[in-house]
């Protein structure tokens, strides 16, 4: 490896006389940042134990070693399978995943109402262990994605297969009986035996691939045909079909699965990707308009959605209201208010891990994990976590900008955007910026589906980044003036 890093190919084109310098894979940077990430996670874990019980937590060595082994296994896999991939994505994802485990451990330890021994109803005594196991599966999925998909373009072949799979996964909970699909009021699960899977998390990946493949194929017709009205290029009526189908599908999710968050994610993903593919503002406006109409109608028609709006507008007014399932128009913002109270309690510097009372907020280990961090790590810590998410998104977008193949570009852009959108929807929801909707916090929330899907997504992004940064094949021998110049 040489010391000079350049964009692959660019150097060769600019200076045909010299050999293109070999860009760095930057795996050492990744390793160093990983050691840093593992260090931060272990320090947080020790800190939580000290804060809760005044002594180092049991299993510091074991959990620490397990976590370190997992992330270094991922690192070795990247060295072998995607040596040119972005060096920051893996450490950032590992850090978020590790901090999530620490918070889940901390909540499990303090139990309901702060009484150790009595567990929070939605947590078991082995929740932390499960979360570590899910992380292992997630990292395995990450490695599998890198191993199986050696070139992102191969996915384009399965555009419609994955599209159909995505829709089936998405729609499956809707057609299942409620006993097999409803958890905490959202009909987005498949419950088999003791396990519950949120298929929407995987559908997100499948549909991103489908959208990318479909839009790359159709983008010319979507971009160019149509009339110009009031300075906006309107698409032809028949080209509206796919948008309307996506809109209809997301509305159906909204109505049948009472899940405005997932619905917003899918529709947002689709609109962002169609905009990038066509560069036509009209698609953006049509998409946003349709979503606004759909949400407004839903808030009027569905008591569930309407209640969410009221709770968002007046979180403290309804803080002491408790609703039963039968009360359709009852508005309770107990959870939202407790989350806000927690953040306020933490203030700027936070209470310190183990010193706050995040267990007061219902579902602090999943939907409201961000408020738990806000409480114990303070505004400072919460900002750091948001910036880690922001960096991860930025690395994804960077890969999208760098990669030349349109399909990969669109896919990377879509995945990075949907990550940002998901963080916005859940963090904005629990901090009172937008109405609360139940999507998971990527990498952090308790539960396997989201974690595994998120790791798979990082696998895809790193594969695309690897493709983007991989240097052009070097000539095997000096062929004089002959150069291999890749089409850009």
């Amino acid at each position: 490896m040489t010391a000079v890093a350049t964009h692959s190919g660019a150097g060769a084109a600019a200076d045909p006389g010299a050999l293109a310098p070999m860009p760095r894979g930057r795996r050492s940077t990744e390793l160093f940042m990983l050691v840093f990430a593992v260090g931060v996670v272990l320090a947080a874990y020790a800190n939580a134990g000290l804060g809760l019980n005044g002594k180092l937590p049991a299993g510091l060595i074991e959990y620490g070693a397990a976590f370190a082994v997992l992330v270094f296994a991922a690192h070795l896999a990247v060295r072998r399978l995607a040596p040119w991939a972005d060096p920051l994505m893996l450490p950032l994802a590992a850090l978020l995943n590790g901090l999530g485990i620490v918070m889940i451990y901390r909540l499990q330890e303090s139990g309901r109402g702060g009484n150790p021994g009595t567990r929070i109803s939605t947590m078991s005594t082995s929740t932390t262990l499960y979360q570590v196991a899910y992380s292992a599966v997630g990292i395995a999925a990450f490695i599998a994605v890198l191993a199986v998909i050696r070139e992102p373009r191969v996915l384009q072949r399965y555009t419609y297969t994955l599209g159909a799979l995505g829709l089936v996964l998405l729609a499956f909970p809707a057609v299942l009986p409620s006993s097999l699909s409803v958890v905490n009021g959202a009909k987005v699960w498949i419950r088999i035996g003791g396990f519950s899977i949120q298929p929407g998390e995987f559908a997100k990946l499948a549909l991103a691939v489908f959208f990318a493949g479909y839009l790359v194929a159709k983008r010319d017709v979507l971009a160019l045909a149509g009339r110009r009205v009031l300075g906006i290029d309107l698409p032809r009526a028949r080209d509206l079909g796919p948008v309307l189908i996506a809109w209809g599908a997301s509305l159906l999710i909204l109505i049948f699965e009472t899940d405005i968050g997932t619905s917003a994610l899918f529709f947002g993903l689709f609109v962002a990707m169609i905009y990038v593919a066509t560069q036509r503002t009209s698609w953006l406006l049509i998409g946003i308009g349709l979503f606004a109409v759909g949400t407004f109608a839903a808030s009027r028609l569905s008591g569930h959605v309407g209640a969410r709006f009221t709770a968002w507008l007046h979180p403290l007014t309804h803080a002491n209201v408790f609703c039963t399932a039968a009360q359709i128009h009852c508005v309770s913002s107990y959870q939202l208010a407790q989350g806000l109270y927690g953040m306020g309690f933490g203030g700027i510097l936070g209470t310190g891990l183990g010193h706050g009372q995040p267990f007061v907020t219902p579902l602090a280990q999943s939907d409201f994990i961000i408020t738990a961090f806000g409480e114990e790590l303070g505004l400072t810590g919460l900002m750091a976590i948001l910036l880690i998410f922001g960096l991860l998104v930025q690395r994804g977008l960077r890969a999208a900008v760098q990669v030349r193949d349109p399909f990969s570009k669109l896919l990377a852009g879509g995945l990075a955007f949907v990550l940002a959108l998901q963080v916005f929807v859940i963090v904005g929801g629990v901090t009172g910026l937008i109405p609360l909707t139940g999507v998971t916090t990527p990498f952090m929330s308790q539960g396997g589906s989201s974690l595994i899907a998120s790791w798979a997504m990082i696998g895809l992004l790193m594969r695309i980044s690897d493709t983007a940064r991989r240097p052009a094949p070097q000539p095997i021998q000096d062929e004089g003036m002959t150069q291999i110049v890749r089409a850009g």
Partner: protein
């Protein structure tokens, strides 16, 4: 597509910027208002996660702890009151639903949230030590307090007692009977607490009522201390040997008759005021009251601390009342502590304390010192004059007369006479709506022991004649405080 991708990046940037701005708003700017939001239990829960300061009776050296926090299972601190009902009117309680007494009045210090403790807390935060509350030291003398509660309890009647150091205003004892056990309120079980609290509130004997400072009784003849003071001060009576008219009965301007207690003749009908005082003649002081006038009586009652609804020690003290009277007939009744006169036991103690301190009434107070967890004193008692009730000369007249109440064989409180310790006092027997009169006594030690003096006020509801029920308890408290056998 890169141009659109750039715009997409911009959208992501905007989303994250919005999130960051919003969390800053919530955590940095809205935190204070959220802290008092409905259903916010965090601030409240937090108080059980660190050690609240102790309350100590009897000063920094050799005091006894009357309230402290103890670690219970689950790393939660629970309040404990070692002496329970004896100190309940002083400590009050600190429960999960609220606090009373010193627990409420000194909450900021005990909880460690007082601004003066912020530096200590910050140091503890940095050094990783747990947050601690400050220790509050009280002026209460444990021996006097114990004697006071035991005395009131032995009578078994609703009663209150306050003892004051006349020179400083330091409250030496504050007892109320029937009392309650504040340990019941230390439970962390909300349902149980609700039940206990409801039972106490519905209890007709009102154990939660602090009769020492929050219940008023008619002062009866003990008010003659004020009437005499007003008479001397306004020059209506020249000296203790001046004679006053004491007809039996006294015919009031409105035609009604005012009688002496048992209808007896007061001396020869023209006694010296000192004799009328030790005999506690109603007619003599009724007529004096008419002479002095309602306005002047009220003026002197105010100087002794009555009609003051803003007095805090730091517990809120109910105002003792001397009404605005213009009708001479009613003034006569007011002058002997009847009609609408109402006093707290604390006010009774203040009558004696003002006389004992040569006419200067010190502001009564309970807290002698507040000590930060590192033993640094953050607050000392601030002694201050509440008012100059009477001149030194008038005070010495009153002292002379009050000594005779006990020392003279015919005095109403001669039963508590002790050759080795001089007590000056005034009894009161106040008629109330029930069959048994309230027994009232206000007294002080003019000389005291080793430069220590004490003033005591006692009211025993339905205790009968003033000297019978109230005076012996006052005597016990005095003996306990001065360590006189």
């Amino acid at each position: 597509m890169n141009r659109a991708m750039l715009r997409l990046s911009l959208a992501c940037l905007v989303m994250f910027a919005l999130l960051l701005i919003n969390v800053t708003y919530v955590q940095a700017f809205k935190a204070t208002s959220l802290a008092s939001g409905p259903g916010n239990v965090r601030i409240f829960n937090e108080q059980f996660q660190y050690k609240r300061g102790a309350i100590v009776a009897g000063g920094t050296a050799g005091g006894i702890t009357i309230a402290e926090s103890r670690l219970t299972k689950g790393n939660i601190y629970q309040r404990y009151y070692p002496s329970g009902p004896v100190y309940a009117p002083v400590t009050g309680y600190d429960s999960i639903f609220g606090a009373t007494g010193i627990e409420a009045a000194e909450d900021k210090e005990l909880a460690g949230t007082d601004p003066r403790l912020e530096v200590h807390n910050l140091i503890n935060l940095i050094t990783g030590k747990p947050k601690l509350g400050a220790t509050v030291y009280l002026t209460i003398d444990p021996k006097a307090q114990q004697a006071a509660y035991a005395g009131l309890k032995s009578l078994g009647r609703p009663s209150g007692l306050v003892a004051i150091d006349p020179k400083t205003g330091a409250i030496l004892a504050m007892a109320s009977y029937p009392s309650y056990n504040p340990n019941q309120y230390a439970t962390l079980n909300g349902h149980r607490l609700d039940k206990i609290d409801l039972r106490n509130r519905r209890n007709p004997s009102q154990p939660l009522l602090n009769r020492a400072i929050n219940e008023t009784f008619p002062p009866g003849s003990s008010f003659k201390v004020v009437t005499s003071s007003a008479a001397f001060s306004t020059g209506k009576v020249a000296s203790t040997s001046s004679t006053v008219s004491a007809p039996q009965p006294l015919k009031l301007p409105n035609g009604n008759l005012l009688n002496n207690d048992a209808g007896e003749i007061c001396g020869n009908g023209h006694p010296q005021i000192i004799q009328a005082f030790w005999l506690s003649c109603n007619t003599a002081f009724g007529e004096l009251g008419i002479k002095v006038g309602g306005a002047a009586l009220r003026q002197y009652a105010d100087k002794f601390g009555m009609n003051n609804s803003h007095l805090t020690i730091p517990l809120q003290v109910s105002a003792s009342v001397f009404p605005r009277v213009t009708d001479p007939s009613l003034t006569a009744f007011s002058a002997i502590g009847q009609f609408d006169d109402q006093v707290t036991p604390l006010q009774e103690a203040m009558f004696a304390a003002a006389i004992a301190n040569h006419g200067t009434l010190m502001r009564p107070y309970l807290v002698s010192q507040v000590q930060a967890p590192d033993l640094q004193t953050i607050q000392n008692a601030s002694r201050s004059v509440l008012s100059q009730a009477v001149s030194q000369q008038v005070a010495s007249n009153l002292q002379k007369m009050m000594i005779q109440v006990v020392a003279n064989p015919a005095g109403t409180a001669h039963d508590i006479f002790m050759p080795n310790l001089e007590i000056a006092g005034k009894t009161g027997t106040a008629q109330n709506s029930s069959t048994l009169d309230d027994s009232v006594f206000t007294c002080f030690t003019p000389v005291g022991v080793r430069n220590r003096t004490i003033a005591v006020g006692v009211v025993v509801q339905g205790g009968g004649f003033g000297a019978a029920a109230a005076a012996p308890i006052a005597q016990q408290v005095i003996k306990a405080y001065l360590r006189v056998p």
